[in-house]
């Protein structure tokens, strides 16, 4: 084995597999599994991230492992793109592992060792996806990833809902995987050589590149949750234990992004502008759809899941723009957009896992997932609440945190769009920018709802008074992720410089040199056109806040008196008078009514125990999935008619088949 980062990555990968196996061997020993195995797994994650950082700057390393099919051994390759996503996986994975060490307790449905096994296989297969350099090992890793995460989703398999969610997840993942498989079938160009090197070299003629791209979009889109293949996401994420949801949302969705980038920018040698238009439109639709649905959710993990759909939409939209730029040879702009895409992927991994883990802690402390039964947890769980606040602000895209940086870059890319040959695309771009801005603003709405209802206000249920804060290991994980959000937000120039090799590789140009005017100032083209320095903004806001406080204390005073809330003088105040999740989402439900399939249950005026309920369902179920299911059922019934038990009829089939074939041959 050649030394260097690849060796380190492989070591981490094997370590994960070994940990998983150990967990399986000692499945029932909770303390061993949680206090020993998970932290060691976290260490492996850190090693992986470090190796990724080293590999970003280094030339690509390749390795052939004599496994797999006889003519197709496992090709592994560590290049800049893989390295970037490995950093993401390693860093976020490490944090989630540490958190998990404190999270998994006994008396959960599945033995802890089994969870440990699936968890680490999941991690290892994601790493392998990123390393894969031929279609076979890619697919093996890809499906292992789906499978192990399926088992994580169905940890509590006794609940029928969760089984249903798991089934839906695995089904869509599998159909998507077949799409990817067919995509590789196109890419190999009939050569029978499935290594990525051969695919890079293959020159596809005619429509084949477009077919490959569309198949990739379909296949990876199913995993990423692009409309209309998103339906599994809001089901599976809430069903899984929180660390698993975090891992799926933060990292697994990114492997789909990785795959899309790998296929469209690495394996396909030229891009067509209309691919970009498709990706852009789909991405925007996904983003808007996701955020609007997130706004009306009442389950905190479902809300976050829809928010993941939104973020994936933003990323895909960025990919679309990159394709448009690249196809017109504007490599510098493509590099900027690509930077935004990668940056947002990284950011989303950090803040979304932070939030999912926070919901995990809340879930543990309160046994409650429904927003309507939470509230006021900032007093009971200060650690979780304050760290979640960082995540909330970051995901809302507020300066100076990380979410803002990537949105800023992406918006800049839209603004810099030069006039393109297709006037239709020219018109699309501003509309896309507007839609993106709308999605970002709605995200803030959603996150205020999430944070305000879970952590602020008064506890909506008496039981919440017993909630306890996260344990020490959990806190470490959360702090790590929150720190990541802050650092990624404050030092974009350094991060973008790190991304340069990836840009160089994918779009043939670097953004870093242009983007970084100096170490403080982020300026994509030049400082006159646009610049942003989060550190300065942070320091200035901080200084003003500090100065104001000091001055107020200096010239006036800092006295505080505690009293009951005033509330316009209303005498009776109960926690139930606060907005519920439904209430908070109601304006959005009203404004975006066509988005939903609303089912309201209104009480009659004479109802003794009036009950009101409103459900916002996904149209796609009724437009796409149920019709497919019904069509399949109808086909099944039709084919069932063929087989109606009578032997004469069966003999007739044989006979007719024979006659028809004889006629055919003649």
């Amino acid at each position: 084995m050649s030394p260097g980062p690849l060796a380190l990555v492989l070591a981490a990968l094997l370590a994960w597999l070994a940990i998983g196996t150990l967990g399986l061997a000692r499945a029932r020993e909770l303390v061993f599994v949680s206090r020993v195995l998970f932290p060691v797994g976290a260490l492996a994650g850190l090693v992986l991230a470090a190796a990724g950082v080293i590999a970003l700057g280094a030339p690509a390393q390749a390795l052939v492992v004599p496994l797999g099919l006889p003519d197709l051994p496992f090709h592994l390759r560590l290049d800049a793109l893989s390295a970037f996503f490995l950093i993401l996986l390693g860093a976020v994975g490490a944090a989630i592992s540490v958190f998990s060490a404190g999270y998994f307790r006994s008396s959960e449905g599945t033995a802890p060792g089994l969870v440990c096994f699936h968890y680490h296989v999941f991690l290892a297969s994601m790493a392998l996806v990123l390393l894969a350099d031929d279609a076979y090992v890619f697919m093996v890793a890809w499906e292992s990833m789906a499978l192990s995460s399926y088992f994580l989703v169905t940890t509590e398999h006794r609940i029928a809902e969760i089984r249903r969610a798991g089934f839906l997840y695995l089904l869509i993942a599998h159909v998507g995987a077949i799409g990817i498989l067919l995509c590789f079938g196109v890419l190999q160009g009939g050569s029978g050589d499935y290594s990525f090197d051969a695919m890079r070299a293959a020159k596809l003629a005619g429509h084949w590149p477009s077919v490959a791209f569309l198949l990739a979009l379909f296949g990876f889109g199913a995993k990423a949750g692009i409309l209309p293949l998103h339906v599994w996401l809001p089901e599976a994420h809430p069903a899984a234990p929180s660390p698993a949801s975090a891992l799926m949302s933060a990292v697994m969705l990114k492997t789909a992004i990785y795959g899309l980038l790998r296929v469209s920018f690495d394996l396909l040698d030229a891009q067509l502008w209309w691919w970009g238009v498709i990706a852009l439109s789909l991405g925007l639709a996904t983003a808007l759809f996701g955020v609007v649905f997130a706004a009306v959710q009442t389950d905190m993990k479902r809300l976050l899941a829809y928010s993941s759909i939104e973020n994936i939409g933003i990323i895909v939209c960025g990919i679309g723009l990159t394709v448009i730029f690249k196809s017109h040879g504007k490599t510098l702009l493509a590099a900027i957009t690509m930077t935004a895409v990668l940056y947002h992927a990284l950011n989303h991994a950090f803040f979304k896992s932070l939030l999912f883990l926070a919901t995990g802690s809340v879930l543990h402390a309160t046994r409650e997932r429904s927003l309507g039964k939470l509230g006021g947890l900032i007093h009971r769980m200060p650690w979780v609440a304050w760290l979640a606040l960082v995540g909330t602000l970051a995901i809302s895209g507020l300066p100076p945190l990380n979410g803002f940086v990537s949105e800023w870059l992406l918006l800049q890319a839209f603004l810099f769009t030069p006039s393109l040959p297709q006037s239709f695309v020219n018109m699309l771009v501003p509309v896309a920018a507007a839609a993106l801005a709308l999605a970002a603003a709605l995200a803030a709405y959603v996150m205020v709802k999430f944070y305000g209802i879970v952590f602020l206000g008064q506890p909506r249920e008496p039981g919440l008074a017993q909630a306890h804060d996260a344990g020490r290991l959990e806190r470490v994980g959360l702090v790590f992720l929150a720190a990541g959000c802050v650092l990624l937000g404050l030092f974009p120039v350094q991060v973008i410089a790190l991304l340069d090799p990836v840009n160089e590789m994918l779009v043939g140009s670097t953004a870093g040199r242009g983007v970084a005017q100096n170490w403080l100032l982020l300026a994509p083209i030049n400082a006159d056109r646009a610049s942003y320095s989060p550190l300065i903004v942070f320091l200035v806001v901080g200084a003003i806040v500090l100065l104001t406080t000091l001055l107020v204390r200096r010239f006036y005073h800092g006295r505080v008196r505690r009293a009951d809330p005033w509330d316009c003088g209303f005498p009776l105040q109960t926690p139930r008078m606060q907005d519920t999740a439904e209430g908070f989402g109601q304006p959005i439900r009203q404004v975006f009514e066509p988005f939903f399939r609303l089912q309201r249950q209104l009480p009659s005026p004479f109802d003794a125990a009036p009950k009101y309920s409103a459900r916002a369902d996904d149209h796609w179920w009724h437009w796409l999935y149920l019709p497919i299911a019904r069509a399949a059922e109808a086909c099944g019934r039709f084919f069932g008619l063929i087989q109606q038990g009578r032997i004469s009829v069966y003999l007739t089939y044989s006979f007719v088949t024979l006659l028809v074939l004889l006629l055919f041959v003649q």
Binding site: G640, G645, F655, L662, Q666
Partner: protein, 223 residues
């Protein structure tokens, strides 16, 4: 019958015609016992034609083959079938699923089809008996049709055996017979198959009190 072909070939053609005729007769026959008789007659025609081919072409192993056919299909199987019917006490007439005129019409279409099918092949053959291939195919198809149209177990089996006869005829007429080991194997299979079927009849009767195939229509997908 064109002139100039040897006498034995004319004989074979005659037997072929008889075979086809018997096939039609079986298609039209309602009575089980008569079906067995017809089956035996078909076997006899087959055995004779095999022997004639052997005589005409000097292929001595065809005599063996004819002997096996005679023993098996003229004596042994009809005998077994007779015994079965006596033991099972099922001498009823059989009413086919499709009425007999229709069946006959379909049968004629099949014969035309079979002849058409065989025509290009027959011209390729070097054997003098080549024109009988079409008849062989036709009788196979007619037997197939018979199996489809019968609603009782025993006539269906007789159809199956008649189909085997057609195949044998094809083997002897078109190619002067298959290698001996194969023929023996086939014969053994037919015999064992018949024995197993016999066992089956008893089991079915035991279960359903009848050999009507309508009882055997429970496993299905269309509910």
């Amino acid at each position: 019958m064109a002139a100039g072909i040897p006498f034995y070939a004319q004989l074979i053609n005659l037997f072929a015609a008889v075979l086809l005729l018997i096939s039609f007769a079986m298609l039209a026959q309602r009575r089980v016992l008569s079906l067995i008789d017809l089956f035996a007659a078909q076997g006899l025609a087959l055995a004779l034609s095999t022997a004639v081919v052997g005589w005409g072409t000097g292929q001595s192993h065809l005599y063996w083959s004819a002997g096996v056919t005679l023993t098996l299909k003229v004596f042994l199987l009809p005998f077994l079938l007779y015994r079965l019917i006596r033991r099972l006490d099922v001498k009823w007439d059989v009413e086919p699923l499709i009425n007999i005129p229709t069946t006959m019409l379909v049968g004629i279409v099949l014969v035309v089809f079979a002849f058409n099918l065989a025509a290009p092949i027959s011209n390729l053959s070097s054997t003098v008996t080549r024109s009988t291939l079409g008849i062989a195919i036709a009788s196979v198809m007619l037997s197939f049709l018979m199996m489809i149209t019968r609603r009782k177990a025993i006539p269906q089996v007789i159809g199956f055996l008649a189909m085997e006869n057609g195949l044998f005829f094809a083997a002897t007429s078109a190619t002067y017979g298959m290698p001996m080991v194969v023929e023996l194997g086939i014969a053994l299979d037919v015999l064992v198959g018949m024995l197993i079927l016999g066992v089956f009849f008893f089991q079915i009767r035991e279960q359903f009190d009848s050999l009507d195939l309508k009882h055997l229509e429970q496993l299905r997908e269309d509910e």
